[in-house]
Subunit: 330 residues, 2 copies
């Protein structure tokens, strides 16, 4: 146990647009951090160099030497081989397969744990946020897509060769809008921030959403989560309808997840939820309760994530601790 | 470890129509058994007496004294509180809540483990049958309904307060046939043996299935799994079409389960599959492969159960061992 208290941890959150590293003490108090743009288009070699640089700059910011680090945890987008620590060609990086664990272990000479970024975020909420200590947590994070993750009995639920809990690809509308995965009517094609922004842009074009029209015109890239929240406050009723439809679809899809995995707690996170936590928690809960079978009614809670952007980086660091110390850290 | 080798186990499979108990040695070789009708309509008091009687008669058949028994495992229909060992009013018994564990522990003065009957069957296949030793097994058992269960890292996957993996209630046909759960178009309303028999009875009425018409007329209760298999062999093409449609729907629903839990192995069991294992394994596999996302392709196997009716009773006994001996028995 002495080792744990003198050792520090690094968390890393690798996103499609930005990367963030934080250094933590043995109690997971942050000591320093660094953030850079990912610039994924410059390729994998450059990307890996930026990752290393971000870790080194975070160490400098924290005034911590790498020799004090007990492990590095890194959350990465897309499918991951958790055993080997390999990222399996996530579409929003375009780097092909990357042996992340091997690469960082060689460079920093310390243990490295690699997880899916959503799994890392859900693990963060399980250890430090809104889902502490329960047996089963499902995380749902609507963003460009809709990420899902599960913590079961203290560990990330592992699939046969990659992560699982693909909530974004549950079919919700037969013959619905085309999804990035090639199917139609998947949850993320209907209820992600991207899907919501696209619907709102159309309403803006039609003149139904005057606040949005003024704030962002009809460019869906400019219709952020905060724009949607502000538009609802300002009285753009159609925006509220569109956002609530998305929440309802998430709740309906969740009913199927509850029948499958029966979580104690469902954590909703990501920018869209952060901008309107009450609306999402209420509407998702109502829709899920309406759809679950009798035996599952009131068997779960729906809560908003508490850690915001920190969930991923903190969860990754805590996952590294879990992998290095095993059950002794619980 | 010495204790394990001198101790024997009892497995019990409580069904809606019959109950079966077997006594096993420490290596799970069967030593004796007893079987009775459940007669659920006579009520819970009589039912519990018949359960005790069946256990005692199995011990007599095995020439084993109860003092040699290290534990009793019992698989029961419907939702179960596994922690407390309480069966939660399964519709096909109509007994209300039954504190099965407490009751049997008092009577036989030995540890009792209670599990859902499908979970027990999947655990049996995991320990002794067609899914030995993999990290994640999903079991799908089409019968009157369609039961589902999951073994994850050596244990039954537990829901927040009862079992989970309700594969039978995945929606597969929007606005489809009414399901016993109150929803429409659930997998079991479309692809259970009962659903298949109902479709076949209709074809028989229309004169499209001459073998079935001769063998069973139009009474769906007389159209058993073996009738269906024999009809296909005899050339009733419409029967083959109906059965293969059911297998396809199971595969389609399974794709969603694979996206959620990502099993290494899917075990198909129950009478319908036993009568036509090759057809089911092939058609379920094809439909599931067609529907899963690229990252999940070839990530799972589909196999037929190997233990038949024994899976449940053997799995229940092995689950009792697991609960009594914990990880030491693995």
């Amino acid at each position: 146990m002495a080792a744990e208290q003198t050792h520090k941890w690094i968390g890393f959150d690798l996103g499609g647009t930005k990367m963030l590293s934080k250094v933590y003490d043995s109690k997971f108090k942050p000591l320093g951090s660094n953030r850079k743009k990912t610039k994924a288009h410059l390729g994998v070699k450059s990307g890996l160099e930026r990752i290393s640089e971000t870790i080194r700059d975070a160490l400098t910011d924290a005034k911590v030497d790498i020799s004090e680090i007990a492990g590095i945890g890194i959350g990465c987008p897309g499918p991951i081989d958790m055993e080997k620590g390999v990222i399996l060609d996530p579409p929003n990086l375009g780097w092909g397969e990357v042996p992340m664990k091997k690469r960082l272990q060689q460079e920093f000479d310390c243990p490295v744990a690699v997880a899916n970024d959503v799994d890392a975020g859900v693990f963060g909420e399980y250890r430090f946020g809104s889902a502490k200590g329960v047996r089963t947590v499902i995380g749902v994070f609507p963003g460009t897509g809709i990420g899902g993750g599960c913590i079961y009995e203290g560990s990330i639920l592992r699939g046969s060769r990659c992560s699982c809990v693909e909530i974004g690809h549950i079919p919700v509308i037969p013959d619905g809008p085309l999804c990035g995965c090639g199917q139609r009517g998947c949850l993320e094609a209907v209820a992600s921030r991207l899907a919501v922004s696209a619907s709102v842009a159309r309403s803006s074009y039609r003149g139904e959403a005057p606040f949005v029209q003024k704030a962002a015109g009809t460019d869906l890239s400019l219709i952020k989560s905060s724009t949607l929240a502000d538009a609802i406050k300002a009285g753009d009723e159609v925006v509220e309808q569109i956002v609530r439809d998305a929440a309802r679809h998430i709740g309906t899809a969740l009913a199927g997840v509850i029948h499958m995995i029966s979580p104690d707690v469902v954590v909703l996170g990501g920018g869209l939820v952060e901008a309107m936590p009450k609306l999402f928690v209420r509407d998702v809960m109502t829709a899920a309760q309406d759809r679950v079978m009798f035996a599952y009614q009131d068997s779960f809670k729906v809560v908003a994530a508490e850690l915001g952007d920190d969930a991923g980086v903190l969860g990754a660091a805590a996952w590294a601790e879990k992998m290095v110390n095993g059950m002794s850290s619980e």
